[in-house]
C-alpha cells in the first residue's frame, strides 16, 4: 500500500497531522493519572453547574414576544400583497413547473370582463412542501416570499392546504390600468385562505374548532371582504 509506507518513512511530512498514541504506564501511575483525568472532567461539568448564566435553554412559548426568526427563515410560503391588497401574480405557472414535489398548483381562469388569462387560485400544500425555496427564486415578478412564522401546527391535515392569493383576478399592474372602480370590482373575486379544493369554509370538523373569519387571515382590503363571498363560496363548493 503506497500511501501508508510513504507515511511511515516521513511521519513529519508537511500537511499531515498524525493522531497521538495513547500510552499505558505502570499500575499506580495509571490509577493516579486516571483519577486526575476524571477530576478534570468533573471540573468542566461543575463549571456549568455553578454558572447559571451558561444555560442556553429557551423557554419557548413564554419568550414568544422576544423570539425573532431570521429574516430569511423559510417557514410559510406567502404571496406578497401590497397596501391595497393587490398581488403581482400573473398566473404564469413557472413556480408550478419548478416545484420539485408538486406542492404548488396555480389554477388560472379567464377574466369575466376582459377574458384574459389570470390567477384564480394559488394553492400551496404545506404538507408536501420541502421548503426548498425554488418557487421564490424562480418567480419573475417577485410575488412570493418565505415567511418566518413557523408555528404551523394544526389538528387537521386539510388545514395545510392554503390558497395564497387574497383575490382571483388580474395582477396589480393590470388592475391599476382599470380606472372605473365598478369595473374593477367586477374583475376580481375574493379568495379565502381555506377556500381551495379542500374546503373548510362552513364545514365543521370533528375535534377542530370551526375557523373564525378573522382567524383565516384573508383579504388585505381588496374589494368586498370575505364575509359575503365566503358564504357563496362555501355553498358553491358544497353543491
Amino acid at each position: 500500500m503506497m500511501q501508508a509506507t510513504d507515511k511511515q518513512e516521513n511521519p513529519t511530512r508537511s500537511g499531515l497531522v498524525t493522531a497521538p498514541e495513547l500510552k499505558r504506564h505502570g499500575f499506580f501511575r495509571n490509577v493516579f493519572s486516571g483519577i486526575k483525568s476524571l477530576l478534570e472532567g468533573m471540573k468542566v461539568t461543575f463549571h456549568y453547574l455553578s454558572h447559571p448564566s451558561t444555560v442556553v435553554t429557551q423557554q419557548y412559548p413564554e419568550n414568544r414576544a422576544t423570539l425573532k426568526m431570521m429574516e430569511r427563515y423559510r417557514a410559510l410560503l406567502t404571496m406578497i400583497h401590497d397596501e391595497n391588497g393587490l398581488h403581482k401574480c400573473t398566473g404564469c405557472q413557472i413556480c408550478h413547473d419548478n416545484c420539485p414535489n408538486a406542492s404548488i398548483n396555480v389554477v388560472t381562469r379567464s377574466n369575466p370582463v376582459s377574458g384574459k388569462k389570470e390567477l384564480d387560485r394559488y394553492i400551496w400544500r404545506m404538507d408536501s412542501c420541502t421548503f426548498c425555496n425554488l418557487c421564490v427564486q424562480v418567480c419573475p415578478f417577485g410575488v412570493l416570499k418565505m415567511d418566518g412564522s413557523f408555528e404551523g401546527a394544526v389538528y387537521d391535515r386539510r388545514l395545510f392546504v392554503f390558497t395564497l392569493n387574497h383575490y382571483a383576478g388580474p395582477a396589480a399592474g393590470l388592475l391599476a390600468k382599470v380606472a372605473d372602480p365598478e369595473e374593477r370590482k367586477k374583475m376580481i373575486e375574493p379568495r379565502d385562505r381555506y377556500s381551495g379544493p379542500v374546503p373548510l369554509n362552513g364545514q365543521e370538523l370533528a375535534g377542530v374548532k370551526a375557523l373564525k373569519k378573522a382567524e383565516s387571515g384573508c383579504c388585505g382590503g381588496s374589494g368586498g371582504c370575505c364575509s359575503d363571498s365566503q358564504g357563496s363560496q362555501g355553498s358553491k363548493e358544497m353543491k
Binding site: 500511501q3 501508508a4 442556553v56 430569511r72 425554488l134
Partner: protein, 386 residues
Amino acid sequence: MSVHITTLDDRVRLRQDDSSPLSTQEYFVNMGPQHPSTHGVLRLVLKLDGETVREVIPVLGYIHRGIEKMGEHQSYRQFVHLSDRLDYLSALINNWAVSMTIEKAANIELNDRIQVIRTLMAELQRIQSHQLWWGVFGMDLGAFTPFLYGFRDREIIADIFEETVGARLTMNYIQPGGLMYDIHPGFVKRVKAFLQYFKPKLAEYETLLSGNVILQERLRGVGRMDGQTALSIGATGPVLRASGVPLDLRKSEAYGSYGKVAFDVVIGKNGDCWDRYWVRLEEMRQSMKIVEQLIDNIPEGKHMVMKPAVKIKLPEGCYYNQVETARGILGVYIVSDGKESPYRIHLRTPNFNNLWAITETAANWRLGDLVAILSSLDVVVPDIDR
C-alpha cells in the same frame, strides 16, 4: 467459478454443537431498526457468544426513499434539494457535490466569490457535523453531557446558516450556477464570533472526553482496521484517514477554494476507535483554520452566474464528480440523454461503504465495543439507504 449468494436466512441458521454438556450456544439478536445507538433505522443482526460479537450483518432498506429514482423525474435544479436528504448533517456539501457535477457537465464558470462562500459553508458544515458526532459519540459511550454540549455549540453554526440560508438542516443553498442567496451582512461577524467562542470549547471537549481515562480505555485498540482493509471496503473520509491513508479530496483535488488555503490532512496511526475519534476532533481544528483564512478574504462578485429560472440541459454523456463530505467521498454520477432531467443518477455515498467497516472490525469485540465502533464510523442512515 460459481457465485454463491448467501441470504440472511442462511446466515442466521444456527449450528448447534451438543458434543459437550458445557458447550455454549451462539445466538442472534437484532440490534435495530429501533435501537438507541444505531442512530436511525439501521438494523444489525448480531451473532453473539455471550457478550462477544462474533458476526455483524447489516440489514439495510428501512429508510429507502428512492432518491436516485426520484432524480430521474426531476430537473437538475430540483434534484439539489433531494441531496439535502442524503446525509443531512452535511447537506451543504451534498448540494455542492450535485451542483459541481452539473456545472462541470454544463461548463458553467463560477466566480471566486461563489467558490469562497461555498468553501466557507462547507467547512462550517463539517465543523457542525463533527460537533454533533462528538456529542453522540459521548452519549453512545454512556456520557450524556457531551451530547448536549455538542448540540449547544452546533446551534451557533445553525444560527449562522439560518441567517444566510434560511434553513437549519435541509439547506438547498448551493445551486447549479451559484448560491441561492448572497451571504447575509451579518455573516462575517457571526462566523468570527463563533470561532472566538468555539476554540476554548474545543479545549473543553478534550478535557471532558478525550482526556478521560474511561474513554481512552474504551477506545484504545478497539475496532482496529488497517489501511489496506479500509481501502478494500471503499471506506473514505475520517474512517479511511484514521487508518493511516492520507486521502482527502480537499487536498488531492483542491476543488472550490481549497487550493488557496493552508490546512493539514489528519491521519491516524492504528485505525482504532481512538484514531477515528481524534481525527475528527483535529479536523474541526483544521476546518476552523480554513474558515479563519477565508473569512476576511471574501472577494466581491455576484452570487449567481445564471438566472434561477433558466432550465439546465446537460449534453448527452456520463458525468462524475466527487467531493469530501464530513463523512467521506460523495460521488455523483449523472447519465444524461440531453433532456431536462437526468437519464440516471447514481450516488456514491460515503456511509454505505463506511458502514461495511463494522463487519470487518467488530468481530470478537464486546457488545459495548460494537456501539463504540459504530459510533466512531459516524454513520448517517438515510445516506446509506438513499
